[in-house]
Subunit: 139 residues, 2 copies
């Protein structure tokens, strides 16, 4: 993605984005240098404008129902370097310079846990859809 297509950001073009019934659109946050995916949060039209105007990524907090300047209390601001949108116009990808930790747990990324897949676990034995472990049956 060396030379992505660009559009001029105007209030009018922002309105082309497909916000959901609550006026929100998910924003994937990626470190612009390490390319690590840091978090996902939601923005509305006004928070995108605030992000651009202030130079600090600003979300809409669904739990608190208010604007949320990332880093406002922790100092862990996110400075947007690039804002992309996808082919369906319903997701943003914001590449940021991350100050400190993106995650409130102080981990570098909110995605610090991974599912460990057991190749020969219950998944391969027809146990999908319920909790029984078929290996127990043959024990």
């Amino acid at each position: 993605m060396k030379n992505p297509e660009t559009i001029v950001l105007t209030p009018r073009s922002l309105h082309k984005l497909k916000f959901d019934s609550q006026g929100l659109i998910p924003a994937i946050i990626q470190d612009y240098q390490t390319h690590e995916v840091l978090m996902l949060a939601y923005v509305n039209l006004e928070s995108i404008k605030r992000t651009i105007k202030t130079g600090k990524v600003t979300y809409w907090s669904r739990s608190r129902q208010q604007y949320w300047v990332k880093g406002e209390t922790s100092g862990h601001f996110q400075y947007p370097q690039e804002i992309r949108y996808d082919c369906d116009l319903d997701t943003l990808l914001i590449k940021v310079q991350q100050i400190g930790s993106a995650c409130h747990t102080m981990k570098g990324s909110c995605f610090y846990r991974k599912l460990k897949i057991i190749p020969r676990g219950p998944w391969d034995a027809g146990a999908l859809g319920h909790h029984d472990d078929p290996r127990k049956k043959s024990a």
Copy 2:
């Protein structure tokens, strides 16, 4: 994120994920080698199970209301290499080996367009919230 915490993937642990009112959770798809963010789509519990069991990323298509094996018609399968979940348990990050193009436009990523920000555009002139371009007023 060299050594993320891990859990053993069992049907029970999957149920800890916080699916929304429609039983869905967003999944960020990232190329496991280039680290490029390719797309965002939605999965439900069953499609996560199918992804793990078949080794091919499988979504729930909200528009078609059916399971969607990525690459089923195009051959552009996504082979999951790692599945992470975030601190809030409400977003997945799936690192994949992408065959061909992730995007139906044949671009490498669905995020092939970026918003071009005009530092001295209407944003800085108090025009937020409406469509008037204050530069026109002084012309």
